[in-house]
Symmetry: C2
DNA sequence: TTGTACGCGTTATCAC
DNA sequence: GTGATAACGCGTACAA
């Protein structure tokens, strides 16, 4: 690893001059000196030390990302959005998996701070009641007050900048869509208990059902993964409660539901209509009806806020979502008409 | 951000003593001094500066990860394995997406080096013939010679440490399995042209088919994603070439194949048997038959090698893969028997 | 057992 | 236009 000093020696100039040439300083340097420093750096394969720069400037070009589950496309998209935007500013992202555990989040948060991350992004939402949540909140609040930029891309109980979609409304509108198709028997598969984002989506579903005078049926789950959806369906069927339509808390669950249905001889959308929330790549190939969330943009906004030195207000208007009708949902009448006619 | 100096002042000791207490130095420090330093650090919310530490020790606790596509579960698993193992050593992973572009890989590699990463892991394989591959190789070789630890988790043309599975053998054995089920009409959907890993898997498939005196049919694709599998199937069917069994270059493609089949009225495994390679979470919920690769372990090995100061030989015996029979494959006879009997 | 002092690679402030 | 030089926060000889 060649250092600036070595470059300067080779170019027969001072480190100051070398520094001025090699980083975009506006300090004037003569053409020929500029050139010789450049070639010296080139021949030595000079690479600036980010550590030294960070130490000097009290600010590293690092964005910390705390994801709940990198295997979940939802977080993968978010992470990708952050990374792409960060790269535009010469920033780099440190990725930390927290496995939906507040205690792990706290540890990772601490490590990220040690690395002088310019900002830290929490991708997942709170888990209400989980041990360690309060402790985490206290620590984050402390960090925020001491100047660390913290962004939450999901509902969180601490005092960070928040860039979040309206989970309630997204779920509400999706349920309304199902209702507009003529369905009345619509179940909601809710995934992980305690997840704030899920709670909000449940509320939206309930409200839509209530307004339509339809009976809500919320199926508690054990997770946000594909298996969770499959297992929930298995239980539903075992209990003889197969609904005509299903709204899932996320796309992964929805894919699991589809997997169960298809491998058990059911047809979509003829037998059951299925929809998810997220609009991730996982559901796309199946033509899953879903509420598409601007995940990449969300991540990009967070990264942009952190990378820009501006301490100014970061939040633009609330990110919009959009219904993406697929082939897994259909009008309720299309089925009842068939046997009748 | 409290500094060591501030902690030392509050505890009324020298920075040297404070340092000795706060990092696990084996230098002897008296009990009470130890205690006062600890409490001082606690009250000040002291966080060591990773930048300063890295600068001082010429070695940061950072592992750089260059992934081809973080949205692909294959790389997500790898990344996760790296992160988990790295965390055990107090290391952190900087994630960089390269979008399967050698030019981007080179840029990211450079940035990772600037951050004094202790090691850099390439998750994806080479793309033969892509512009920039040679340039990347040269740069990596230079870095390796200058001491940077570089690990490739897939076949690569540069001189790095390599921890890779035998793609040829994995594909060969999977194809043998298909043959053992009585299939003769087995197609291979190959995904991305030029990807070395895919080439090797193609070779394994061809060898197994050749040995069985069966006619190989390799379908070139346009990518490694689910859509790629779906599109390849569409083309196959449009050409009236629907095979009885399909080996896919990875699980994602296989899921896409399943999606096509199911949404077009075909049954698996009755009409077509489908298998993938990878054993990622994406195929699990569908009961996809696949060659399970130890992706998390692979990542862990890379991280362990880098995190351990040992410059010694890192490579254990070649990582094994394992056939995971699912419900998407069945004996060829079970179908031909039905109409005949 | 504790303290002093130097240097890691860089940027920035001054003087020339 | 250019060059010394002082920090940034930390670890660690070396001294005491």
């Amino acid at each position: 690893m060649a250092t600036l000093r070595e470059v300067a020696e080779l170019a027969a100039v001072s480190v100051a001059t070398a520094s001025r040439v090699l980083n975009g300083s506006d300090h004037p340097v003569s053409r020929d000196v500029r050139e010789s420093v450049r070639t010296a750096a080139e021949t030595l394969g000079y690479t600036p030390s980010a550590a030294a720069q960070a130490l000097k400037q009290q600010r590293s070009k690092i964005i910390g990302v705390i994801a709940s589950d990198i295997l979940d496309p939802y977080f993968a998209e978010l992470t990708r959005g952050i990374e792409i935007e960060a790269a535009k500013y010469g920033f780099v992202t440190i990725l930390a998996n927290a496995n939906r555990d507040p205690e792990q989040e706290r540890m990772k948060f601490r490590v990220l701070r040690e690395h002088q991350a310019s900002g830290i992004v929490f991708c997942g939402s709170d888990i209400e009641g989980a041990p360690g949540t309060a402790q985490l909140a206290r620590e984050v609040n402390l960090a925020v007050r001491s100047g660390t930029k913290v962004v939450a891309l999901a509902p969180r109980g601490f005092d960070s900048t928040k860039i979040i979609i309206d989970n309630d409304a997204a779920s509400y509108e999706l349920t309304r869509y199902m209702l507009s198709l003529g369905h009345r028997s619509i179940a909601f598969i809710g995934g992980m208990p305690g997840l704030t984002a899920v709670e909000q989506r449940t509320v939206g579903y309930r409200r839509a059902m209530y307004e339509a005078h339809a009976l809500p049926h919320v199926v508690g789950g054990t997770g946000m993964r594909q298996e969770s959806g499959r297992d929930a369906m298995a239980r539903l069927v075992a209990a003889g409660q197969l609904p005509k339509a299903i709204v899932c808390a996320n796309d992964e669950i929805a894919v699991g539901v589809l997997a169960y249905l298809w491998t058990n001889g059911y047809k979509t959308p003829n037998d059951v209509s299925v929809a998810g929330i997220g609009g991730t790549r996982g559901g796309a190939v199946f033509g899953l009806t879903t509420m598409t969330l601007p995940l990449v943009e969300l991540g990009g906004l967070a990264a942009g806020y952190i990378a820009n030195a501006s301490d100014s207000p970061p939040v633009p208007d609330p990110p919009r979502f959009e219904l993406s009708p697929g082939v897994t949902t259909a009008k309720a009448t299309s089925l009842t008409a068939a046997p009748g006619g």
